[in-house]
Amino acid sequence: MTAPVLTPTPRQRSGRVRAGTQSSSRRRRQDWSGYVFLLPWFGGMLFTIVPFLWSLYLAFTDYNLLNPPEFSGLTNIKRMITDTTLHHSLGVTFLYTFISVPLSLIAALGVAVLLNKGMSGLKIYRSVFYLPSLIGSSVAVVMLWRAIFGADGIVNDLLATLGIQHTQSWIGSPDTALGVLITLNVWTFGAPMVIFLAALRQVPAAYYEAAALDGASRWRQFRSVTLPLISPVIFFNLILAVIGSMQTFTQGYVVSNGTGGPSNSTLFYNLYLYQQGFTSFDMGYASAMAWLLLLVIAAFTAINFIGQKYWVYYEN
């Protein structure tokens, strides 16, 4: 880990053109300012790189927090291969990601398109739609959702008025608990929505005018003009959403009181990792799990980057 040197490399003076001192010093100033802005990151790295490497070491040890770690070679890796609960928790996390990410991106884009119509009171609507994202994964809201989707919750009351008798708790049943959490996640589409909205504003109106002159329908305009032009932003949101939802923890923890229940249906990978570390005091195994998650997220991100050349359109 070599820290980049914080002095700009002296530029080769070209023999032909004598660069004006003014412009080269300005450039040097610009170089400097870049590094200055990076400083906080370097500072943060100092604090994170050591634990980061330490956890890599721990992944190959047996460490119970109370005694010094003992090197155990590939024991943790072998255990991960046969640990059915771990496989199950990966399954829960994948299912959650594959369903909630596309749904929340579609919801975000849909609302952004509607808001882009330039209606009056846009700012208010934008704030209202953004609100859930600010509070969405907070403990208080998850508690609220427990009240809404409980056995005596608002949802079952509403169903009863429609004549549907559903007395089971939505979050207390293994078949539906994860569905509730997916819904909660889709509901927090504010951040991608705001980014989509900015992207939609960037699409030149001339394109739409030209398309309209050629007789393109609204839908055709959206498909052939809007989507390609904002595809880099869709890609950006996709990457962020996948990385974020792979690391889901709070919702599962709160809704199940930390158990991942009922019947492990909300046992996200991160929640299981936490249980290994802090319930079983098995920090070596938990560290190995953390690195596996890093590799899984890296793999998904790589697949996304490879896949982008088939659908992401860069104008330049």
Binding site: M1, F47, T48, V50, P51, L53, W54, S55, N64, L65, L66, N67, P68, R146, G150, A151, D152, G153, T167, Q168, S169, I171, G172, S173, P174, D175, N257, G258, T259, G260, G261, P262, S263, N264, Q275, F278, T279, S280, F281, D282, M283
Partner: protein, 438 residues
């Protein structure tokens, strides 16, 4: 660059980077620098426990009395509620700054004890008086002949029924001193029916370790044996799950997902929410449950207590006081524990927050000035003490992990994903896996 960094410095950095895990908001219990016993000067103690702000006031009042009697000792106190306590305690040990005196959970005593980080009270028998404690309660803190925990209070798992519900729906309340599991099923089903499904007559927490242990002992078995081996076989626990299936079919207990339990606190319980008319609770929590559930609770035996092969209920330590083996002031630390266990004024200040005092003389002296609900709990636990009960065997390493597995298996049964026989197999397997991790 990492070569000259000690493990401790690494951990310190790690915790700092992880967003200050050890430095949570209220009632910090994060091992700020130099509170650890290892660095403390003699006569300085760091004392931590688990609980809320109310308990903290009571505990601090007791500690202040101790300091009055021992002016040369300084005591800094920290507390934490919920499951965070366990995690922070582990991190304190991991970062080489353990507290001197701490609350230790029943299920964690061996986890710590087996790793050699706790002090053996037997070496300080001149400071710690244990002659007024029931033998079984004292022995619960023994691990391989070493006394690593001293019971800070005594409790038991008991059943409470809500008389208000029985009166309201015109069902005759059961006699809790002699009822069988069949009686429990019948009367609970009767109440469920009389209330037209509004209230379930009872509930059976098939995923709860202590309740399961009680049932096992009624069959003449136990959770684990002295040598740490498993005390039951798959065919022997199948009836436990069959019992629930039967009760659920009768309508005596709620089906899976039929009610939501919000949390462990009394006011979040199904009983307090008016969803069930009976619940298994720790006896020392009777006052808070009775307050939360409207004041008409009766506490008694679990069903089957007099009709089985043996008695299942036990007097168990509500918690242990333990001392870090790294403490710089072992004499003072033991003196503090002795004070908490045996001092009348100290126990008066703690007001039963940690269960019924383990010292029988203190109990007799205090029983006069209790309020009504506390009196009920006291009398109940004292009456249990007069019975011929099976002594609790300290939990093996991995008990905590087993508890989680057990709760998952219970869910699987409630949602008919496992048959009782399969659940029995799964439970034995979970026990093997949890306890095999030495």
């Amino acid at each position: 660059m990492t070569a000259n960094l000690s493990r401790r410095a690494l951990l310190g950095l790690g915790l700092g980077a992880a967003g200050g895990i050890g430095v949570a908001g209220c009632g910090r219990f994060g091992g700020s620098t130099n509170t650890g016993g290892a660095d403390a000067a003699a006569g300085e103690l760091n004392f931590v426990w688990k609980g809320d702000a109310t308990r903290a006031e009571q505990m601090r009042a007791a500690v202040d009395l101790f300091i009055e009697a021992h002016p040369d000792v300084e005591v800094s106190t920290e507390y934490q509620s919920g499951s965070e306590y366990r995690q922070k305690l582990a991190i304190r040990f991991a970062s080489n700054s353990p507290p001197d005196v701490m609350r230790m959970a029943r299920e964690s005593l061996r986890d710590y004890g087996d790793r050699g980080v706790l002090l053996d009270f037997n070496e300080y028998s001149d400071v710690l008086r244990t002659d007024k404690m029931p033998e079984s309660v004292l022995n619960a803190g023994l691990v391989d002949g070493k006394l690593l925990g001293v019971a800070g209070g005594v409790t038991s798992m008991s059943m409470v029924i809500d008389h208000a519900a029985f009166t309201r729906f015109g069902v005759e309340a059961p006699d809790m001193t002699s009822w069988s599991w069949e009686d429990f099923g019948q009367v609970s089903a009767e109440l469920s029916e009389a209330s037209n499904g509004e209230v379930y007559g009872g509930d059976l927490p098939i995923g709860e370790l202590q309740t399961f242990g009680t049932w096992l002992r009624q069959q003449g078995l136990d959770l684990w044996n002295e040598d740490g081996s498993i005390g039951f076989t798959a065919p022997e626990v199948t009836p436990w799950y069959e019992l629930w299936v039967e009760l659920e079919a009768m309508g005596a207990v709620p089906a899976g997902g039929a009610i939501d339990v919000l949390g462990a606190a009394a006011d979040q319980s199904a009983l307090a929410q008016g969803l069930t008319a009976a619940q298994v609770i720790p006896s020392n929590s009777f006052a808070s449950f009775n307050t939360a559930a409207g004041g008409e609770l009766e506490m008694g035996y679990l069903p089957g207590e007099t009709t089985g092969a043996g008695r299942g209920m036990q007097l168990i330590p509500a918690l242990f006081w333990s001392i870090s083996s790294a403490t710089a002031a072992p004499e003072s630390a033991v003196a503090l524990v002795d004070f908490l266990v045996n001092d009348l004024g100290g126990n008066e200040a703690m007001a039963g927050t940690n269960g019924i005092p383990a010292n029988q003389e203190v109990v007799s002296a205090l029983v006069q000035d209790l309020d009504e609900d506390e009196q009920v709990a006291y009398e109940h636990i004292l009456s249990l003490g007069e019975l011929d009960l099976v002594d609790p065997i300290p939990a093996p390493v991995g008990a905590q992990e087993f508890m989680e597995e057990m709760s998952t298996i219970a869910d699987e049964v409630r949602f008919a994903r496992l048959s009782p026989a399969e659940a029995g197999e799964a439970l034995v397997e979970a026990a093997q896996q949890s306890w095999a991790q030495e």
